[in-house]
């Protein structure tokens, strides 16, 4: 770094990320990936809009990482095509795709300094030394890590390594930026902070990003769009609030947040759960036997009056809320109640449950 740059950094100059290629959408067209007889991804079609951050969410083995790796070019689909904007990149190797990735293990080169780690791709692109120095300094300031250029990865903390990995991916000005569970090696507190930083940076730079995680809270907090995957297929695509309030399947309802799924019956705006009947409206609601999804925090407990009758089996005081396990004729129901003036209820008490419409959703019974 030459002295002028050092001063600029010290003066807190906002680095210019430099001209970036316009953001492009990623389109996966009927992608199938098999490993031997195991089908990792089956007939998947998905569009990631330009400049957005899309999360692939699902349990381990659902095919989310394989999908990400096919976008990177680290795996090649058995069938189907991968498009970056108008370009069909299916046959291209990872090195020719202008797609970079932040790895779960960070994959920093332990034998190279931070500077050389970040400069690695720039050197392959044969940039001039002065340009490399300037870009590395800029990107390090961008991720909030100036003055570590000379250190080696092993001398950095986990959070710092994570940022160097991000800087190394960003400095290439990729068309698409990929994240493979990048926060899973950080402790809970740091994870929240880095999560916010990643989101802020992605918005500012407007890079099309795909983010893989199995942590639903992370996915909800971070994404424009969440893609829920299960067993190689897409279960649902939608905004975080969409998925939480209107899950398309029992799997999604169960995987995102906590959900009670109760057997019920729906007929002309009236829902019956056990012996309790109440009015409820929902667009395109299924009729007949349904699964009633009720979020624990939207169920109210009463000691008398109308509602689904039940008896409290256990009560867990958890600070901001008290969680109850309530036995009802239609099965166990979890209820999360904020601190009430009457104080927490005790186990063994008889209660009535009512449902606030904001946390209700009717699913076809069979799904």
């Amino acid at each position: 770094m030459d002295p002028a740059d050092t001063q600029a950094v010290a003066a807190g100059r906002t680095p210019d990320p430099g001209p970036r290629p316009p953001a492009v959408p990623v389109r996966l067209e009927r992608i199938t990936k098999r490993f031997g007889s195991f089908v990792a991804v089956e007939d998947l079609t998905l569009t990631i809009p330009a400049g957005q951050l899309v999360t692939l969410l699902g349990p381990s083995g659902c095919g989310k990482t394989t999908t990400l790796r096919m976008v990177a070019g680290l795996e090649h689909p058995t069938a189907g095509r991968v498009w970056l904007g108008d370009e069909d990149v299916t046959p291209l190797p990872a090195s020719n795709r202008s797609v970079t990735m932040v790895f779960q293990s960070y994959a920093l080169f332990p034998h190279l300094s931070v500077f050389e780690n970040i400069a690695y791709g720039l050197r392959i692109a044969r940039l001039r030394d002065a340009d490399i120095r300037a870009q590395v300094a800029d990107v390090l300031t961008l991720v909030g890590l100036p003055q570590v250029e000379a250190r080696y990865p092993a001398q950095l903390s986990g959070g710092q390594q994570q940022r160097v990995a991000l800087a190394r991916a960003l400095v290439m000005k990729p068309k698409v930026l990929l994240f493979d569970e990048p926060l899973s090696n950080l402790d809970a507190k740091l994870r929240k902070r880095v999560r916010a930083e990643i989101r802020e940076l992605q918005r500012r730079l407007g890079i099309t990003s795909i983010y893989v995680t199995h942590d639903q809270a992370e996915a909800l907090a971070l994404s424009d769009v969440v893609v829920v995957m299960n067993q190689g297929r897409v279960e649902q695509v939608g905004s975080p609030t969409d998925l939480y309030r209107r899950p398309a399947t029992r799997f999604v309802a169960d995987f995102i947040g906590e959900a009670n799924l109760l057997p019920g019956h729906h007929e002309g705006g009236m829902v019956r759960v056990g012996s309790y009947t109440f009015a409820y409206t929902q667009e395109h609601a299924p009729s007949g036997d349904v699964a009633v999804m009720a979020r624990p925090e939207t169920i109210e407990l009463h000691t008398d009056g109308d509602g689904l009758s039940g008896r409290i089996r256990t009560a867990f005081f958890m600070g901001t809320v008290t969680e109850y396990l309530v036995e009802t004729p239609v099965g166990e129901v979890i209820v999360a109640e904020p601190l009430m003036p009457r104080g927490p209820l005790r186990s063994g008490e008889d209660v009535r449950l009512t449902f606030r419409p904001s946390g209700l959703y009717l699913l076809p019974a069979a799904t």
């Binding site: 070019g73 680290l74 990872a94 779960q104 392959i124 990865p153």
Partner: protein, 616 residues
């Protein structure tokens, strides 16, 4: 037995049977007839058989030529550094001096004469070639897409479980003056005739043959070291490089190679130690050219000069020990550790196809050569007179009776006796150094691993000098052979033991203790059952190593207690190649059978992990 008691016993054993013999060698090199003198050291080191640069028998002055080479190299190095920016005085001086010294050393090694030069040059050449092959094979094992890599398992373990000199013997069979190839290649036109004429000069009967035999025998050692190194590399690192625009070749050069470098240095040094210490190949195919390990033997057996032998031994010991120390304490610390705890799930990236095919072709060539060499020994044991009369006959096998069978039985018996204490002692030491904290723990571990770094010939003269009088009069007995085996192969037990103990989570023992089991009960009910597979392989490999040992025991055998390996050597020396081949075949088949039996019993045995326990 309480830990403190066993520690004292083990420390006493290590002192008596490893350090004390080495001390007597040191003593013998400076004591002549009870008087302290440097005469023996001086006369040996000045002897042309040890080292000679300016040979009066040659027309040129080697000292001058070497100096000229050094100066030329220095100038070239300095000029090269001057051409690279930024030019600094320190840099130019370092390059001039460094390249100059390197050039001079290489020139000296090339021009000089004597055992020191021969051994060092051999170790360097064999080290480089075996390491290069080993690295190539390691890449194949971990990164090849071709099926040929499946042969790596059996063909890497074969040279390790057979005496290394079998390959030397086989070289004579194939490429010697009356070798199979030498004789038969004439049929392939003028080129074949030229090759035959070349081989008939006996090129493989001398340093070249020793080098080839050692490269074939030790490439598996380098392979086993490097296979672990390549396997431990995080594939995500290579993937990261690829997403940053690197081609597979570029990844190989900028990621895999630098990360493998400490491992490569490690493999090179291990092979160099083995090469320096090897006794069998130089004596069988060396053609009388002096090497350090064989000079120790000839000084004592041929020239009856224990002081001279001791000086050679001390020189050899200093060299192998310093390599051992460098390998253990310097290279050992330079390995790049994986940074984050969680290994990535990424699968290994394949090699560039061109490299994959080229390396596989080299490997196949190696396999064919190994097959041909072992095959020639097998066939040689059932042909009348190799090179002249290829009629099949059982005469050599019949001629093994009675001597051959008898020594084979002695070998088996003594190796079996020795295997049990080697393994038990090894496991006990492994347990103590990994799980018990006591003063001098590092010292005990170092002392017990030391015998891997001590050339067998040095330990051999140590034993005859140390145990030939008074209460310790053991020479000429079976006991001294057993003791030699036990303490030489104890590290095999230690390695197997440490590996096994690391697999057993400490909390298992703690759980057992909390359930009110005492220490012996925990050891017996929890630790031992989990370690049985390792114990078994430790036992088998201690046995295999004892059966195939030669360098140390050659000093300790007597006509009454001769061993298979030394008997093969004397058959070869007295020209009974057929009988030598028959006994060598018997030994090889037996070793293969023993190892296969181990696999049959212990199916989960990891070939490579097990083979690593056998290595120096």
């Amino acid at each position: 037995m309480r830990p403190s008691t066993s520690i004292l016993w083990i420390a006493a054993f290590v002192l008596l049977f490893i350090l004390y013999p080495l001390w007597t060698v040191l003593q013998a090199s400076v004591l002549v007839k009870g008087a302290l003198t440097l005469d023996a050291v001086r006369s040996t080191l000045k002897s042309p058989a040890f080292f000679l640069l300016n040979n009066p028998g040659t027309p040129r002055n080697e000292t001058l030529v070497a100096a000229a080479a050094g100066i030329t190299a220095a100038a070239a190095g300095g000029l090269f550094r001057l051409s690279r920016r930024p030019v600094t005085i320190g840099g130019v001086v370092r390059w001039t001096a460094g390249v100059g010294v390197l050039g001079w050393v290489l020139a000296v090694l090339y021009l000089a004469f004597g055992a020191l030069r021969n051994s060092v040059l051999l170790a360097i050449v064999v080290g480089i070639a075996a390491t290069a092959l080993g690295f190539l094979f390691a890449l194949l094992a971990e990164r090849s897409r071709l099926r040929t890599k499946q042969l790596l398992g059996p063909f890497s373990i074969l040279p390790i479980i057979t005496p290394p000199f079998v390959l030397g013997l086989a070289l004579i069979y194939m490429f010697g003056r009356s070798g199979f190839v030498t004789k038969e290649i004439v049929a392939f036109g003028p080129l074949g005739a030229a090759a035959s004429g070349f081989l008939a000069t006996g090129v493989f009967f001398g340093p070249l043959g020793v080098a080839v035999a050692q490269i074939l025998a030790y490439a598996p050692i380098a392979y086993l070291v490097l296979q672990g190194v390549v396997q431990a590399m995080d594939a995500a690192m290579e993937e990261a490089a690829e997403t940053l625009g690197a081609s597979r070749w570029h990844v190989l050069r900028t990621v895999i190679w630098p990360l493998a470098r400490p491992g490569i240095a490690n493999a090179f040094l291990l092979v160099a130690i083995e090469s320096l210490a090897d006794f069998g190949n130089p004596i069988i195919v060396g053609g009388g050219v002096p090497f350090l390990a064989t000079e120790v033997f000839f000084a004592i057996i041929g020239r009856f000069n224990p002081s001279e032998a001791a000086v050679y031994g001390v020189v050899l010991l200093i060299m192998t020990l310093s390599i051992f120390l460098v390998q253990r304490y310097w290279i050992g610390r330079r390995f790049y550790v994986t940074i984050t705890g969680k290994p990535s799930a990424a699968r290994p990236r394949p090699l560039p196809p061109a490299l994959d095919y080229a390396a596989s072709a080299i490997f196949l060539g190696w396999v064919l050569l190994i097959l041909a060499l072992y095959g020639s020994v097998f066939v040689g044991s059932v042909t009348r007179l190799w090179g002249f009369d290829y009629t099949l006959t059982l005469q050599h096998i019949r001629a093994l009776s009675p001597t051959g069978w008898q020594v084979f039985w002695t070998s088996t018996k003594l190796s079996a006796y020795a295997a049990v204490p080697s393994m038990l002692l090894g496991f006990l030491i492994a347990y103590l150094v990994t799980r018990v904290d006591f003063p001098g723990r590092n010292g005990l571990e170092f002392g017990s691993m030391l015998s891997f770094a001590v050339p067998g010939t040095v330990m051999g003269i140590g034993y005859i000098l140390a145990f030939n009088q008074g209460a310790l009069l053991l020479t000429g007995t079976e006991l001294i052979l057993i003791l030699a085996f036990v303490f030489r192969n104890m590290p095999v037990g230690i390695r197997s033991g440490v590996a096994a103990i690391h697999q057993i989570d400490r909390s298992l023992e703690e759980a057992s203790t909390m359930l009110r089991a005492n220490s012996p009960t925990t050891l017996r009910r929890i630790v031992m059952p989990l370690m049985v597979p390792a114990l078994l392989s430790g036992l088998v490999f201690a046995f295999v190593r004892a059966m195939t040992a030669i360098s140390q025991v050659i000093f300790l055998i007597t006509p009454a207690h001769n061993l298979a390996t030394t008997q093969i050597l004397s058959y070869v020396e007295y020209g009974s190649l057929g009988r030598g081949a028959a006994l060598a075949s018997l030994l090889t088949v037996f070793m293969i059978a023993v190892v296969l039996a181990l696999y049959a019993i212990n199916r989960r045995l990891d070939t490579r992990a097990a083979a690593r326990a056998l290595m120096p």
